[in-house]
């Protein structure tokens, strides 16, 4: 029996608790900042340059589009700044300024504004921009090529997933999992520090800005699929913890897959959506052509979102 109290709807005026899109955007930025700071600590001023350039140009692109399309100015909601920050966190610290500029254009204009702005984008704009950049400017998004001039205090001077793809699990067997979790690995400037990303993710889940169902099912999807591959052939396929702690895995689990307008809202669809993302990621990494499957896996699950969100509870009551 449903509680009668929960079904009571009182008439206007309503009390607004003050929360809104700006609160959500700036809280997500705060949650992402520890991982971005870890990147600045490892890569220095160039990483700071990429982050600042991405956040500022994302705001400028949105402002420009708002004015060009004669729509209300929406940069005040902080979403453009968040998109810029997340985009920067997926790039290597060596990214040239013009690639950052193109990236924020792709995310804000192609990924979001042409669909009608925040809430109307079918794909995660950051992921879409990275997908286009990695296909168009592969050289600049290659961590091993880009970071050759950085003296990095890591045990391996090659990105773990690139090593895994090229030389097999044996070549990454000596990597220390705790080092990987602390961010001591070659990679994007804001997506390597698992500790900082997990803290940010837990903060967002506790505050209710992201849904735990998507994050945890994404992680479980990766772990279980990688474990099955590894059990089937440990010579060819890496152990699941390596997949969890390398590449874009954790930033995707907490910041990318959970993007609100491109992810489902019901319980079972969220679990399916996350798990499907995890499974696709490992499939692309293990038997696909790309080094890191996260980007294309998230685009694919974004595509399934409207379909799987049709699994929903029956409406209470009936039309007379």
């Amino acid at each position: 029996m449903n509680s009668k109290k929960t079904l009571i709807v009182s008439h206007a005026p309503f009390w607004h608790d003050g929360s809104g899109i700006p609160e959500r955007s700036y809280n997500t930025i705060i949650a992402a900042l520890p991982a971005a700071f870890a990147g600045i600590a490892f890569y220095g001023a160039p990483a700071l340059g990429v982050i600042c350039m991405a956040m500022s140009t994302a705001i400028f692109w949105e402002l420009l589009l708002n004015r060009a399309m004669r729509r209300p100015i929406t940069v005040g909601d902080g979403n453009a700044a968040l998109v810029g920050l997340l985009l920067a966190m997926l790039l290597p610290a060596s990214t040239p300024w013009w690639v950052v500029l193109i990236g924020t254009f792709l995310a804000i204009v192609i990924g979001m504004q042409i669909f009608g702005g925040i809430g109307a984008n079918p794909f995660n704009p950051v992921v879409l921009a990275i997908a286009i950049l990695s296909l168009s400017y592969n050289h600049y998004l290659d961590f091993d090529s880009g970071l050759v001039n950085f003296a990095l205090p890591f045990s391996s001077s090659m990105a773990p997933l690139a090593t895994l793809k090229a030389f097999g699990p044996e070549a990454v067997a000596n990597l220390n999992l705790m080092d990987l979790f602390m961010g001591k690995q070659v990679g994007a400037l804001g997506s390597t520090s698992g500790l900082a990303l997990t803290i940010g993710g837990i903060y967002l889940m506790l505050r209710g800005f992201i849904r735990w169902e998507i994050s945890l099912s994404f992680i479980a999807g990766i772990y279980l699929t990688a474990m099955l591959f590894n059990m089937a052939d440990p010579i060819r396929f890496a152990p699941p913890m390596l997949h969890l702690l390398t590449g874009y895995t954790l930033i995707a689990a907490f910041f990318l897959a959970t993007e609100s307008s491109s992810s489902p809202v019901n319980f079972l669809p969220m679990l399916l959506y996350g798990a499907l993302g995890g499974i696709m990621t490992v499939l692309i990494r293990n038997i696909g052509a790309y080094v890191d499957g996260v980007i294309f896996a998230i685009l694919l699950i974004n595509l399934t979102n409207p379909l799987i969100d049709k699994i929903r509870p029956k409406a209470i009551g009936k039309v007379a």
Binding site: A45, G49, C52, S56, G76, F150, A151, F167
Partner: protein, 148 residues
């Protein structure tokens, strides 16, 4: 809709971050150090990442500069990158420009310069074979270094 205060905050954020971004890009560009840390060779058989620092530092393999850089033999500060001399032969027969910095073209007329791939394959494999470490020579081992 957002308030005017939130809008002004976003404008302020954009302008300040743009300034910091421009300063970072202008004042701290990513430059190749005098002695390379890592080198990514783009080859027709795929890219090859060579960890120069690990090969040269005492905590790494401790190789001396002259183990690989054999010219000039007497001056460590004058050593040059391999590819500056080891280039594919020019069609018009001219010598690499870097050679002409120190030599007259007539001095090196008869000198045979092997190409970069040959120089690397000889130099790298000789050492790896000697120490029986890392990638070993052999036509089945290309993918131990080359990444497509």
């Amino acid at each position: 809709m957002t308030s005017k205060k939130q809008l002004l905050f976003a404008y302020g954020l954009a302008i300040h971050l743009l300034l910091v971004g421009i300063i970072c890009y202008a004042a701290f560009p990513v430059k190749a150090p005098h002695e390379p840390i890592r080198i990514m060779y783009q080859t027709t058989a795929g890219k090859v990442l060579f960890d120069h620092q690990t090969h040269t530092t005492a905590s790494g393999y401790g190789a001396s500069c002259f183990d690989c850089h054999h010219h000039p033999m007497d001056d460590e500060s004058a050593l040059i990158a391999c590819s500056e001399c080891h280039q594919a032969p020019a069609e018009d027969g001219s010598k690499p420009e870097r050679c002409l910095d120190c030599h007259d073209e007539s001095d090196i007329e008869d000198t045979q310069m092997i190409s970069r791939p040959d120089a690397f394959h000889q130099g790298c494999t000789e050492c790896h074979e000697q120490f029986e470490k890392g990638p070993q020579p052999g036509s089945e081992n290309c993918s131990k270094c080359h990444v497509l």
